[in-house]
Symmetry: C2
DNA sequence: ATATATGTGGATATCGTTATCCAGATATCC
DNA sequence: GGATATCTGGATAACGATATCCACATATAT
């Protein structure tokens, strides 16, 4: 349902959101997110062309988010690498359905709309800041202070 | 988001639901649904192996739904050709996320769950019987009797 | 300027999806 | 049984998604 590339793009941008202020090299991101280095470079290039991330070459270079994590929806990331093709006109190109989709395609489009809505209302900051015992991309157990008492 | 094959499988089964009681040949279905004949044969084969449709060879043969349209959810059709891979374990295989997905993957899985829910609660009968001016796969305008009056 | 670090863009490889085609199997009708 | 209709399964092809690699451009530090 979600392409591998989408998964990679989200991991990379979540990592950047977790490391705001310090440019991250492709290699750093690749290791942290377990994404193939060479392919990640391509994904980051695409995100760069789309204006989601900014890059700097040379020593101390790397990638950063262009906007604050609070201002970047997950949808923005996804559409860069996997456009969500809403069903806006009849896939069969039937004249009778030009202005009004049939129940089948309406249902399918509603599902796509739901996904768009869900992801457009969630930001990278939401993902990074959600209180959870599982921190994204981090394999260390989170300790909830004051949670348990002797 | 939805593969071409999914779209084809849904068109074909909707057509069968609209023609319950009369076996439809691959060619009839292909013409009605505008799906490439040769490829449709493969899709129908898959639906046959999955027990969604039943086939008969020879004259007056063709394909039929195994169950009544009321008893076939759209999800059943979709999973035959495009399994919805829920995110049940951490894609990065992080130990810390084994029992609890991180917020990113939880969010993604929730979207997949929504889609499953939507499509599992809609049957072929729902699609075919929904009152609409657009009849699935039919290019003729539906006339709503008694709708307008001089 | 030179050495080093790092992103960019192009060429290429692999694989699954989409698609076509045809020989063979099987059912019906006469 | 022969003619016809129809599905089945295998071979094959085109294409996009995934992935790798490398020469090149460009930035920093000294």
């Amino acid at each position: 349902m979600f392409s591998q590339t989408t998964e990679y793009a989200l991991r990379a941008t979540v990592w950047l959101a977790q490391n705001t202020g310090t440019p991250q090299t492709t290699q750093q991101i690749a290791e942290a997110t377990k994404v193939p280095l060479g392919y990640l470079a391509k994904v980051l290039q695409a995100l760069g062309r789309a204006g989601v991330v900014r890059s700097a070459r040379g020593l101390h270079g790397g990638f950063e988010l262009v906007k604050a994590p609070e201002m970047v929806s997950i949808l923005e990331i996804i559409v860069v690498v996997e456009p969500i093709r809403r069903i806006l006109s009849c896939p069969l190109d039937l004249n009778a359905h030009r202005l009004k989709l049939c129940p089948l395609h309406k249902k399918m489009d509603q599902a796509l709309a739901m996904i768009e809505e869900t992801f457009s209302s969630t930001t990278l900051a939401d993902i990074v800041n959600t209180p959870s015992s599982s921190k994204p991309l981090c394999d260390v157990m989170q300790v909830r202070l004051g949670g348990a008492r002797a």
